[in-house]
């Protein structure tokens, strides 16, 4: 019944067992990439935070770029999946936008990593050779815009906003404001300031039809 090392899920077969928790190491790498961005996060920085040596990093994650991409996937799932689902599920488009931007402001200034969105910021000013990373973050940003578009089309179907609404432009504007929030977060705005800005997202929607005054 020798316990040995139970560190993680599958106690593998032969060979020396991995001495570190891969998931924990990935989370720590995520934090470094999130705070510093892709390029300034050196392999030495990452190794220090992950408490492993370079060969272990390369054996477990391939290279710096693929470690980043895996951290990025983890980031998306951990922080944005639930808010996105709530956004799409909220039956009132005004409330949906308002809640989503409120939640976003909270994520962008989350106490442990108050440094904006990793998708928006981490791969800016990266070497042009890192095409995989550039394209991946670009597509994730595009996906958010498409999410806005989908929800706005639903709102048209629900009769909440006019059918002649310019959906691509409005979705683009919401996406632009959301991405701009990351720069505000990095510039050191307070949570309260960020939320006051985020509250303006809903104002870009067509005005809610006012009840014709009953008389």
């Amino acid at each position: 019944m020798t316990a040995k090392r139970v560190a993680h899920a599958t106690s593998q077969g032969k060979g020396r067992p991995r001495a570190f928790d891969r998931a924990q190491a990935l989370t720590r790498a995520l934090t470094v990439f999130w705070r510093k961005g892709y390029a300034p996060a050196s392999v030495a920085d990452l190794c220090k935070a992950m408490e492993i040596n370079p060969p272990s990093l390369y054996a477990a994650f391939g290279n710096k770029a693929s470690l980043f991409l895996e951290a990025l996937r983890h980031y998306e799932q951990t922080y944005w999946e639930a808010p996105s689902r709530r956004f799409m599920a909220n039956p009132d488009v005004y409330a949906a936008v308002d809640s989503f931007f409120r939640e976003a402001a909270q994520i962008l200034l989350s106490p442990e990593t108050p440094c904006g969105c990793m998708v928006v910021l981490a791969a800016i000013n990266i070497s042009e050779e890192e095409k995989a990373i550039i394209e991946t973050v670009r597509e994730l940003r595009l996906a958010t815009k498409h999410m806005f578009s989908d929800r706005l089309r639903q709102a048209i179907q629900d009769g909440q906003i006019p059918p002649d609404t310019d959906v691509p432009a409005l979705a683009g504007a919401l996406n632009t404001l959301l991405e701009g929030l990351s720069i505000q977060a990095r510039d050191g705005l307070f949570q309260s300031e960020l939320k006051a800005i985020a509250a303006h997202a809903v104002r870009m929607l067509p005005p809610r039809p006012t009840m014709p005054a009953a008389r």
Copy 2:
């Protein structure tokens, strides 16, 4: 009447004359920094574009950081001074915002450098040691927000928007949208798409009071 080299303004005194046009070299450095960002623009890249060798660069501009700061000042003056003045001078705040964002979209996708705003993007993900650069771009971004605030307060005085308008938040929102546009520009949006988004800036202002129907 030997002409020799008239390259630039002041034909200096003693010593071997500079063989390159300092202003032109600065402009070329600006282009490199604008397109690639501060960190990925290597001194070798800059020298190649400026058509000089490193010692000439260091003699004329100090070092990479001060070259960037000088290029940044030149960028501000060249591209943003006039639009900002027009923005402040436009007597109608709605027209002012609309025009400014339209002009901004044009600058961010200007044919020679269609890569967003240098103030917003060039110094993101920079080494934390470059405090002078980080602080300078931060303050330039802040200055734009203050410009929005000033113009909005004027609009209140002019009775164009309600006196209870949350000026800091609205100025922050405009600033956030403006900065977000840079990321859109870098993501490859067309001029038309960028302008359609920019047109939503004015929608964040309090709604223009509708003429009470004369009856």
